[in-house]
């Protein structure tokens, strides 16, 4: 690896550190309320790009490229779903979930499920499942970080992996100012510019899109179809549907993603942020998949297809640009890993340890539990990534498929269906997770031609509807939840201009005031 690459990599981190420091000092003094008020003054574009930077994980830089390399344009089915996934998620459950979680007083997405479907079992099963699956997701980031670090620095993979794990742990335990919105914003811009730059260089190398296609066709024409290498998926609409669903509606079942709705600022900001995110996705999301396809001719005989994007960057870009782009990619991977570890740690400490083991736990004890779990994940992750690393693509698809299958109906019905009750939600989570897991573990996609995501979501949806309807008498939805749902979906005769102007953080107070006024009227009538 050239010295120039290393110098620009270091330069990148200095700039990121500087932005973080500037952002921290901006509202400085001891009274840093701006920090606790959670980016209230951050605009829609920064909000959107911050989100993209922390959700676009190692999957995009390794898994997507690897899939494109192996299956050609078939990989774009995954990209199509992903482009609009964020906006779909926001539109379907965003505003309502924000309001309902405020009304029910939930701080985490698993706590929200328990408050909507009152039962400790919901929290126990939901929390355990989420911790387990997010652990897998983190493993993918560790592998991606290790591989990237090895390529950038030229170090042996075990050493690079150890450094990547260590950096991620420091980021998670002591990150602080490195992780403010403005550094994520900068990072996402560099990521976008980086992949577009690599794509331009790749197309220039091959003589443009038409020439590139001709060269790919000469290697294997089936890579240019939407049916995969050797037309392996031809007519398999059950598999295509799953590939489309996983990163579109699937988002609505990921506890670590839907939790963002609960911290949303104003819904109007969120709507505009959704539009910015879609625009960013339009350019960013398909690019890694297409780069993987182009790598078939740029890097014939590539040993590890998941390294396609990194290798193209190293081969075609000037050293300085490679340094910057690789640094941004590495930073994005670290940032996603950090985000996932935080979610996993806080679910383990708040939703499991405090809720079921030690209800009087001090903050110190809960942090010890979170950090202990994070260390265990890091050690197991390191061992697995070293001994027999699975592909980033397979881990991410496994974790997201099971999460989406388990939780999608529970989160969607929580705000949209008043008859969705606790037994229905429990049955849905357990059945969805089990079917998706069994489908994945036994490779049933080949014999059934149904993607595990499609099988899992269909099962969990049926379970939610059937069990809820059968148990309406024995387990009715409590009235206070129905009231909160009414408040959260209230549009009725209220003029649109008032709904647009409404500050939904006032919803709980408004509900209390309305309740008090009704009491007053009742007392007067007596």
């Amino acid at each position: 690896m050239s010295t120039t690459v290393i110098v620009f990599l270091v330069l990148y981190y200095v700039v990121v550190l500087g932005i973080g420091y500037w952002a921290a000092r901006r509202g400085a003094g001891e009274n840093l309320e701006g920090y606790l008020l959670g980016g209230r003054n951050v605009g829609p574009m920064t909000t959107a790009l911050t989100l993209q930077s922390t959700t676009m994980s190692g999957y995009m830089f390794l898994g997507a490229g690897g899939l494109g390399f192996a299956q050609g344009y078939w990989a774009l089915w995954y990209a199509v779903g992903d482009i609009g996934g964020g906006v779909l998620n926001l539109s379907v459950i965003g505003r309502r979930m924000r309001k309902l979680s405020q009304m029910l007083g939930a701080l985490t997405s698993i706590e929200y499920l328990e408050k909507r479907y009152p039962s400790p079992a919901i929290r126990l099963i939901g929390g355990t499942l989420t911790v387990f699956l997010l652990g897998f997701y983190v493993l993918a980031q560790l592998i991606a970080g290790g591989k990237g670090m090895a390529l950038v620095t030229g170090m042996p993979y075990p050493v690079a992996l150890a450094i990547a794990v260590l950096v991620i742990l420091i980021y998670t335990f002591m990150g602080g100012y490195l992780a403010v919105a403005y550094t994520d914003f900068f990072q996402s811009l560099i990521m976008l510019v980086g992949v577009v730059w690599i794509m331009s260089a790749a197309l220039a190398e091959l003589g443009g899109p038409t020439a590139a296609h001709a060269q790919i066709a000469a290697v294997d024409p089936t890579l240019l179809t939407m049916w995969g290498k050797d037309l392996g998926f031809e007519g398999q609409w059950g598999v295509v549907a799953g590939a489309l669903l996983i990163f579109s509606v699937g988002y609505m079942g990921w506890p670590h993603v839907v939790t963002r709705h609960m911290a949303m600022t104003r819904p109007a900001t969120a709507r505009r942020a959704g539009a910015w995110a879609t625009l960013w996705n339009l350019f960013f999301v398909p690019t890694p998949y297409v780069l993987g396809v182009l790598a078939v001719v740029i890097l014939p005989g590539l040993a590890d297809p998941e390294m396609a994007i990194f290798e193209i960057a190293v081969k075609l870009l000037p050293a300085a640009v490679t340094g910057l782009v690789m640094a941004a990619i590495m930073a994005a991977i670290m940032s996603t890993a950090d985000s996932l570890l935080l979610q996993t740690g806080s679910i383990a400490s708040r939703d499991l340890y405090e809720r079921f083991i030690n209800p009087k736990a001090t903050e110190k004890q809960m942090v010890a539990v979170s950090r202990g779990l994070v260390l265990i994940i890091a050690v197991i992750g390191y061992a697995v990534a070293l001994v027999e690393p699975p592909t980033v693509f397979s881990i991410v698809v496994f974790a997201t498929t099971v999460l989406g299958s388990a939780f999608l109906p529970a989160y969607v019905c929580a705000v949209w269906w008043r008859r969705a009750n606790t037994p229905g939600a429990l049955a849905s989570i357990v059945a969805g997770a089990t079917v998706a897991f069994v489908w994945e573990a036994n490779g049933l996609v080949d014999s059934t031609q149904l993607h595990p995501m499609l099988a899992g979501v269909t099962t969990s949806t049926i379970a939610m509807v059937v069990v809820s309807l059968l148990t309406q008498r024995s387990s009715p939805v409590p009235p206070h939840i129905l009231d909160a749902m009414t408040e959260s979906d209230r549009v009725g005769p209220i003029p649109e201009r008032f709904l647009r102007a409404a500050d939904s953080s006032l919803a709980p107070a408004a509900s209390e005031v309305a309740h008090a006024l009704r009491e007053e009227v009742r007392n007067d009538q007596r």
Binding site: N31, G176, Y177, L342, P508
Partner: protein, 162 residues
Amino acid sequence: MTNGESVLCMREQVDAVGALRIVGSIGDTSKAAIERKIYYPYFWFRARCRTTTLLGRRVVSANCLIDARNGLGATADSFETEASMVEADALLAARTTVGEADRAARRFVAHSFGRSLRMLADFGVTTKALGLVYKAFWLVRVGGLTVLVDSMTGSVYPMKAQ
């Protein structure tokens, strides 16, 4: 005339005329009228956190308000207070205890701080209870609708249509 009670209130930034102007700017000024004024109870805490980041040790403090009706937490900008004589029927009664509110405040501040800084750390949250403080809300009637107006921020929330 009902009995008055002296309570600690957040100093209003939006008076009745201001509330009417805000609601009028959204709906119809000529039809907006003040219906009544309600004082809403919050337990007020000064929360203090300290932690060590890669850029050194930081100490941060913030106002934390716990809704005394439902126990929900929120951080707040600095505000001034004043003792006011308020008619008893305009005061909403607190339903949570100061002990419950204190635990909720610690939990909420630690959660918010961890989320904002994106790090797993013991922030050593300490709270100082500053007592029960009331915030005034204007209930403004416009057309068939009642709109809640926050007297501190001027934020609105449509309550009901008849």
